[in-house]
Point group: C3
Chain length 168, copies 3
């Protein structure tokens, strides 16, 4: 399997599962981080995640220009782990970018990737309808990105309580 999407909820163990899958592959390990430390809570979370990954990983930041990062970083002897598509969607939404166009560019970059790619995404549509319109729009955009990427990759797993369930 060359491209894998790992879907899951918050604290589902999806990032750890994706890392374990990446570490089982041969090659350099590149973590493509979409998170931005916009506040202390996020900065703390990012620092803990980086420490958890350990020294085998190099980290590249791509909060917005994710397709370009995939194109410039992917190599035959490298495993790229993109964590996560949902933060990327948030960043695009806040930056008022064209999300469908960005998703198409990402999918084209995935198709052209020279080495294996593992992508992590949140499933956010299984609670009640959010009160505020921006949250509803985010939920719609994130769900659409998940569907588009799921259709484009070789494999999809859903992770709950750290355990994977094969969707594709």
């Amino acid at each position: 399997m060359n491209t894998l999407l790992v879907l899951g909820g918050a604290r589902s163990g999806k990032s750890r599962y994706a890392q374990t899958r990446a570490e089982a592959l041969d090659g350099e390990l590149v973590f493509v981080a979409t998170g931005q430390a916009l506040d202390a809570e996020m900065a703390d979370r990012i620092a803990r995640h980086r420490a958890d990954r350990g020294p085998r990983w190099i980290t590249v930041e791509a909060p917005i220009e994710l397709a370009a990062a995939v194109r410039s970083e992917s190599r035959e002897d490298r495993v790229l782990l993109i964590d996560c598509l949902t933060l990327w969607t948030t960043n695009l939404l806040l930056a008022e970018r064209d999300i469908p166009a960005a998703a198409e560019a990402l999918i084209a970059a995935i198709a052209d990737a020279a080495g294996p790619l593992i992508l992590v995404a949140n499933e956010v549509g299984l609670g009640i309808v959010p009160d505020n319109p921006l949250a509803r729009r985010f939920r719609d955009e994130a769900g659409r990105v998940n569907q588009q990427v799921a259709a484009a990759v070789d494999g999809v797993v859903f992770v709950a309580a750290g355990l994977p369930l094969k969707l594709k």
Copy 2:
């Protein structure tokens, strides 16, 4: 399979999956819509969904009287797609109807249906507990309707990121 329940989150691709399943069957295609255009956002969503379905479909509206619509519309040479049970539950709640009684009437109508039925429902119970009591009651009622209908139909699938997972 004569009766199928398609469960999924918001923007999970459940409606599209249900339509694809319906279109693969022989017979006239009847879309039983439970959504009501109560505001501009809903009206826009309904119009887009109707355009997405295309001209093969005829649409019947049944925001409240769903069991009666199933009884009057179901025929041996017709496929009924009911989208969705969760909006119907919302409508019943807002109209202060007896939801368990309405669900029982629906299940009796499903059992008596002359042709295939596909029902779509939202899974809404996988986020944190909502702050407001009405949202909690809605979540409980929607979950109960899903359980009752799931027990009554031949097949149930859970859709995430456009991909089906067989539950029954």
Copy 3:
């Protein structure tokens, strides 16, 4: 299978599924309740659940000291049903207890249990990010407890609309 974790959303049928699994086993049935009747809505829910279980069950309350309850109640000829871990996490959070330490103590008690154990937990991480920091912290802690317990038990199922899906 000696230890089973049943995961699911609100009104997913997870408690009923767990009870059915417990009732299919030989031995005395002990319900270990973590819920506390802090308000009328909770008190009503607890009373309804107790009535639903019927007279075959004896009930023990363990809102905080769950590991101790497992140690004192587990016997070779008894089935313990713990419902649920997520309310227990809520109680620990409100009581400002050390949740990771409590989870480790619980896992040690599970490992030492003399008879079968069935544990119920909510999956709460599949909606959008909650606005308030306490809800976010709760969501993180609940997800971590689910992952830890899922790793420690023999079997894990995810229940949606009353139907189980095997995760482990």
